[in-house]
């Protein structure tokens, strides 16, 4: 058990830090949360800089255009970029963390050549069209239909909660290609251009007031069969490869950010006198301990991934997500306690963070679903009937 970084890792960190110190002051001002074209341009601009400096696709395999970095280097990258206040992955999330890795793992040479370089260069944005109005936790029951017609699939149906749909060029789309097969066996994975005729996007307003996600309607959209990644009806397996790709690093930046917020909370509480309330003070102390442990759990998971290099990671991510999403909500509830009635004002940054933290126990697999995964796949408890 060793928490010290190797010389190579320290060099990597030092070079990255120096680079960040140089480029961050040159960045344009952050666009407002409602300015979607502005956000797209900002996020892609940052990706372009990463690309030019050789940091794009750090954790992707080299033959997919990535840098083949170790999980620990990726951890350092995420930690340092967050520390330095660099832009979040934002609109590049699906391309870099879901669709891209899927194409890298399962795509043909032509598919990789077509789709991966634009993601790394910051030219194209992807979104994820998995969830449907009637298929959320039970994703495999999805009904969006794709019917083969010559060299095309003709697709009809609807996707929902699609983040960044308004500004995406491509959508990683799960469709049903065999309605007769058992639900996990009749699904295919397609890359759908968002400007194809028949695609319409209706923004959905979140409880935080902004339009972070959308419903996507598909009305006889034609997508070439050549855009299918993996075999027909093998889309469920292809998708599972994606979902397990992040190797324990999914929330690194966020944990670093939460720890910084906690420090700011303590400072504010000290200044406004609430620090003298032992109940609040201890709650902050506990959170400090918890987020410290969550940081260590990240390092633990990354070390595990590093040892099983190349292998598909385990289900430890569910344990982490359960603990983290709860701690994050607790953090912003505590922030509200520090602010008192001021927490009712939307001008407080923490109030917006509190609102968005409400999605953490829902998005990317609800806490209930995560507990099912932990109980059945880690603890080996029987499936319910």
């Amino acid at each position: 058990m060793d928490l010290t970084y190797t010389e190579e890792e320290q060099d990597f960190r030092a070079r990255l830090r120096a680079w960040l110190a140089k480029v961050l002051p040159e960045l344009p001002a952050k666009p407002s949360p409602d300015d979607w074209p502005g956000r797209r341009a900002y996020d892609l601009g940052w990706q372009r800089r990463l690309y030019e400096a050789g940091y794009a696709g750090l954790h992707w395999p080299v033959d997919a255009g990535g840098r083949g970095a170790t999980p620990t280097q990726h951890l350092i990258f995420l930690e340092e970029t967050e520390r330095a206040g660099a832009p979040y992955v934002g609109a590049n999330f699906v391309g870099l963390l879901h669709a891209g890795p899927t194409i890298a793992a399962e795509g043909t040479a032509e598919q990789r050549a077509r789709w991966l370089p634009p993601v790394l260069r910051g030219d194209e944005v992807w979104c994820q069209g998995f969830s449907e109005p009637d298929a959320g936790s039970d994703l495999a029951s999805l009904r969006t239909r794709a019917v083969r017609d010559g060299d095309d699939y003709v697709i009809s149906g609807s996707k929902i909660w699609t983040s960044h749909a308004e500004v995406a060029d491509w959508c990683e789309l799960l469709v049903r290609t065999d309605p007769g097969a058992p639900k996990h066996r009749g699904i295919s994975w397609l890359a759908m251009p968002m400007d194809a005729p028949g695609v319409s996007v209706r923004p959905l307003r979140t409880l935080a007031g902004s339009a972070e996600f959308a419903q996507v309607f598909l009305d006889e959209v034609r997508v070439p069969v050549a855009n299918r990644v993996g075999a027909e009806n093998d889309g469920w397996r292809v998708t599972m490869v994606t979902l397990s790709f992040e190797r324990g690093t999914a929330f690194v930046g966020e944990v670093v950010a939460c720890r910084r917020t906690l420090g700011e909370l303590a400072r504010t509480a000290k200044a406004n006198g609430r620090w003298d309330d032992p109940v609040l003070r201890r709650r902050l102390g506990r959170l400090y301990g918890e987020f410290g442990a969550l940081w260590r759990l990240t390092q633990w998971n990354v070390s595990e991934a590093e040892r099983s290099a190349g292998g598909v990671p385990g289900t430890g991510g569910s344990v982490f997500k359960l603990a983290y999403s709860h701690a994050r909500q607790e953090l912003y509830d505590t922030a509200a306690e520090v602010l008192g009635a001021r927490s009712l004002s939307l001008e407080e940054e923490w109030t917006l963070d509190r609102l968005s933290s409400l999605s953490y126990t829902i998005a990317a697999g609800t806490s209930q679903i995560q507990r099912n995964i932990v109980a059945e796949r880690i603890l080996g408890l029987p499936k319910g009937r």
Binding site: R267, P278, R281, G285, G289, G316, V319, N372, E376
Partner: protein, 304 residues
């Protein structure tokens, strides 16, 4: 960085697990509950011979020369097996109290408020006092942790950091063990025509237990590696929570059986309660962490 245990560390842990499975399995545990003999001097000596107490003593002083990371792995196993006796205090006394390192002496400590002392009647020495003070027996909640009230508290604060961390490791072992017990029972016991573990309400209790235990595990291991006071406090706080709440959830999963003397669940819960009061309580840990948090921003503020 490689936070995972090394092969040597895994071997050490497996060795202690085997030793305890052979020497202090369930029957031995229940026998000590029945007789009320909490410290078994022969076992104590065997633990001593296996290096349990001398683990961190330098080789030049006849110890094993290992560090806190190895110690927490070994204490985790002792917690899992619910080995009774002042394991932590005797370990801390190695090199201080003659015979402690070899397991020839049983050493307790002033690690409880009250002032209460655990295992006073069986102790050859008490850390924080010169000699063994006189005390009035108190009926203890834990059948395997006899308690005495003494007139004047001693001071074992010099040992507090390591004491809190090793106690956290015991709690961690107990927490992990209660997950196993709950999962096993949930897979065997049937109601409504299916194993109760197929019911989500039960499944989710078990999942929560594991999440708490795994977070506590990394906190304990990390504190062992860094030795940082804040991380030790966090480890104790989280491991106390994982052990106490884990035992309660385990009890719930066992239904009426969980409320019996015969099931082991109550032994885990009662011991976890005792350990939660030792060295550093939740309130103390939270206060310490709060001060560290504030210190960290004030420092950053000055530096910036």
């Amino acid at each position: 960085m490689d936070f995972q245990p090394t092969e040597d560390q895994k071997d050490l842990r497996a060795g202690v697990r085997d030793l305890l499975a052979g020497r202090y399995g369930r029957e031995a545990l229940r026998a000590s509950v029945d007789t009320g003999a909490s410290v078994d001097r022969a076992l104590w000596r065997e633990l001593g011979e296996a290096g349990f107490f001398a683990l961190r003593l330098p080789e030049s002083e006849g110890g094993v020369g290992l560090g806190l990371p190895e110690a927490v792995l070994v204490f985790e196993e002792a917690g899992r097996a619910l080995v009774p006796g002042p394991l932590v205090a005797t370990h801390l006394a190695a090199g201080v109290v003659p015979g402690a390192a070899a397991g020839k002496a049983v050493v307790s400590a002033f690690d409880l408020d009250g002032p209460l002392v655990a295992h006073l009647g069986e102790a050859d020495a008490v850390l924080g006092a010169s000699g063994v003070p006189a005390g009035e027996p108190v009926r203890s909640v834990d059948p395997l942790t006899p308690l005495h009230r003494v007139a004047v508290a001693g001071d074992a604060s010099a040992y507090r950091e390591a004491g809190a961390l090793l106690t956290a490791a015991l709690q961690l072992g107990s927490a992990l063990r209660t997950v196993e017990l709950a999962v096993r029972y949930a897979g065997e016991r049937e109601q409504f025509g299916q194993p109760i573990g197929a019911f989500q309400a039960v499944k989710h209790l078990c999942a929560r237990m594991l999440v708490r235990a795994e977070v506590a595990r990394t906190a304990v291991y990390a504190a062992a590696v860094t030795g940082d006071a804040g991380e030790v406090a966090a480890a104790k706080l989280l491991a106390d929570g994982a052990a106490v709440q884990g035992a309660r959830d385990c009890l719930q999963v066992h239904g009426g059986m969980g409320f019996t003397w015969e099931a082991d669940v109550h032994l885990h819960l009662k011991r976890a309660w005792v350990r939660a009061e030792q060295w550093r309580t939740a309130a103390q840990a939270q206060e310490l962490l709060a001060q560290e948090l504030l210190g960290s921003v004030e420092e950053a503020g000055q530096a910036g």
